[in-house]
């Protein structure tokens, strides 16, 4: 994206390419879609508490408090992961290379698991099931693995090292 004309500016502040902006926004969208799941569960709490099983037996009729605690703990951990993921998106946006690699690894793992489910178990991936999240993961991976995103992360690192050396 940058020509020789902006060579000097590259060292001071590399220009953020569209792929990094788009990739970070998609990560935020991915986190928001996770947040939507949490909201859905919260609004239909009793229904979901009823689905908690331990060793194949429903827990709710036996010990409703424990079932609710387990569901709350699950939701809490998921929410915590989502917040971490939002932080990762912010770091990708600012051009941290390790954050980009970690985000790509997450997306790849999620894609590969979905693909295994799809090809081995014949899982249906439609709008009603996981098409949106799979689409988001693939778009994130495409954006962050692009040459522009890679060069940007490297340039930011080089600029940081140069500033540190001064």
């Amino acid at each position: 994206m940058t020509g020789a004309r902006s060579g000097e500016a590259d060292v001071a502040r590399p220009r953020r390419p569209a792929s990094v902006v788009g990739g970070s926004l998609l990560m935020v969208a991915r986190a928001l879609s996770g947040g939507f799941v949490i909201v859905t569960v919260l609004t239909r709490w009793q229904e979901f508490v009823g689905t908690i099983e331990i060793n194949g037996a429903r827990l709710d009729p036996v010990d409703p408090q424990a079932a609710a605690a387990i569901l709350g703990w699950l939701l809490g951990s998921y929410g915590f992961i989502l917040v971490l993921y939002l932080g990762l998106a912010a770091l990708v946006f600012t051009g941290r290379n390790w954050a980009r690699v970690v985000a790509m690894a997450f997306a790849s793992a999620s894609i590969l698991i979905s693909f295994a489910d799809y090809s081995l178990n014949g899982a249906q991936i439609t709008l009603r099931t996981s098409l949106v999240s799979v689409t988001l993961d693939i778009l994130i991976l495409l954006a962050l693995s692009s040459t522009n995103a890679r060069h940007y992360a490297r340039a930011v690192r080089a600029a940081r090292l140069e500033r540190a050396a001064r």
Binding site: M1, G3, R5, F115, L127, L131, L139
Partner: protein, 304 residues
Amino acid sequence: MPDTTAAPPDRRRVSVGAALDSFFFVLAGFSSVWLAVLLATESLGLGWGLLWFAVLFWALLAYLVLPRLHRILTRLYVPNYFIGRTRTSDGLLGDPVNLALNGSAAQVHAALAAAGWTRADDVTVASSLRIVSSTVRRRSYLQAPVSPLLLFDRVQDFAYQQEVADNPAKRHHVRFWRCPDGWMLPGGHRVDWVAAGTFDRAVGLSLFTLQVTHKIDEHTDIERDHIVASIRQAVPETRIVLLRDFATGYHSRNGGGDNIQTDGDLPVIDLRAMLLPGQPGVAGAQVGQAPGQPGSVIEVTGLS
């Protein structure tokens, strides 16, 4: 000479980061193909939503899937040294390099401005918005950006264009790259800049990438000669060294699937004698380096 077979001095080190990047790059390419299949399957189950989904499918295919596949494949088999052709951002062969220049950046800018060329804006969010707004309001946008083409592994340094009779689909345009220090054209000619000039004749769909793009005129030599003539007319100090049969004449296609043909001649526009306002001494001192009289054309033909 057993010594020379020892470890090559600049063996490329394969870093973990680069290997990971390549892995993710290729995985993303395969994933996008799978996504296209998923979307196509899903669209079959949607009755009235089919058209909307078809547009989404086309956008995904044209702007994400095919470019990534082209990137992966062209990295494998398109040579990355100078072969007289630019490359598109997907790695496909683009417009032919059909001009070379000698002179400072200031001289090149001054000569083109004098010859009635307008510098194209860089592709930014602001310039992209302006393209949309000028298209909607049917205003002309003289400094509209040109698409990026790569040479020496980088996007053009700048580009110039001329609009044709208020028709945004048609325009003359030429992209410039500064040559690396000490770099020479095949045949040993030292030049400061190389350029690729083509004429956009219409807006259409690219054959290879399915993207909406400008279609270029097949006769790239006409555009080349137009650029040379416009500069010669505006800057009388210009000298031309015409490298006859620099490349073999050929018919081919560019990255958008447009036909191109050329006779293979390469004019070198020498602007070193051009006087710039404010610094006449510098230009005057360089006159001795340039061959021929101001305004002259020297033809260089092969000897064998």
